[in-house]
Amino acid sequence: MAQTTIILSALALALTLVNAKTTGKHLEGLRVGFRQLAQTAPLILGAFILAGMIEVLVPAEFVQNWLSAEAGIRGILLGSFGGMLLAMGPYAAFPIIGSILASGAGLGTTIALITSWCILGMIKAPFETAFFGPKFFIYKTLCSIPFCIVAGLVGHLVEMVVL
């Protein structure tokens, strides 16, 4: 975790320098970042509480049977549909997905879950329906489900073969 913090800090520094040289708006970048952090902090805190409770509540047998690498296709299907139900932004969804991973979920399940949340997350539904119509939303959902399942299967394969 410390390594990730160092990499992200170095990236933040590099981007600040690039911004200072190219646009001169590096201070605005800092302001935007801190403002967004302040705005989302209560949301993240709530998500941490939710994620912590999920981690202690979800029974180990459930994770083992339904979400772990051993669950195989069952976990991937569950992840592919479960991601849709996470009707929330990344600040709230990622801690929950992180807690499911920490409980013992397999890589395939976690990747199916994230991919499904990215593409099919219900948070987008009102916007898609409003701007493109309900038919577009239905077509997009039906056409995208296979991508989530395939992503999960590839993730499962990577876990079995590489990791």
Partner: protein, 184 residues
Amino acid sequence: MKRSFLIILSSALVITIMTYLIGGSSLLTEGFRVSLNTALQSALMLVASFLVIGQIQVLLSKEVLDQWLQRFSGIKGVVMSALAGGLFPGGPYIYYPFVVSFKGKDIPFYIIISFLYGKMVFDVTRIPMEISLVSPTVALVRNIITFPIPIIVGLIAERYLANRTMDSFLEEIGDADGSNHDNS
């Protein structure tokens, strides 16, 4: 943001009560201990993540990406618009109105669909959060595995919907009221 906060807050409240009812105060304390540990471990990472997000948002203006979307076509257009989508800052309340602002500009539908999938799958401003709140390994593997999705979707749309513009596609599927949201 308010809606998400209310959803999270009410969900957290319900699940906290459930935890207490199922496991009593010991399980509840354990839950709060896990939450606090995660929060403390992620605090510095979150600050760094938001600094990255802030700089990216200022560096890549809407105008830069707008020009990018209108310049390319064909396979190059699919790839470039998917990448533009990934670089586009903001949530659905920003990028859907941005996309609809192309109404009337005769931009092929496959360019729009590549952009939308690029935003949903690549989103660079989300990567720091994925790394810090899920896991760096999962973030890396997930991004590699899903990288082709926006390009495949764009190419399928280019193959089968090549002649459609966003306007004609919306007219065809019949039930979108894009005119109400035209920002151009």
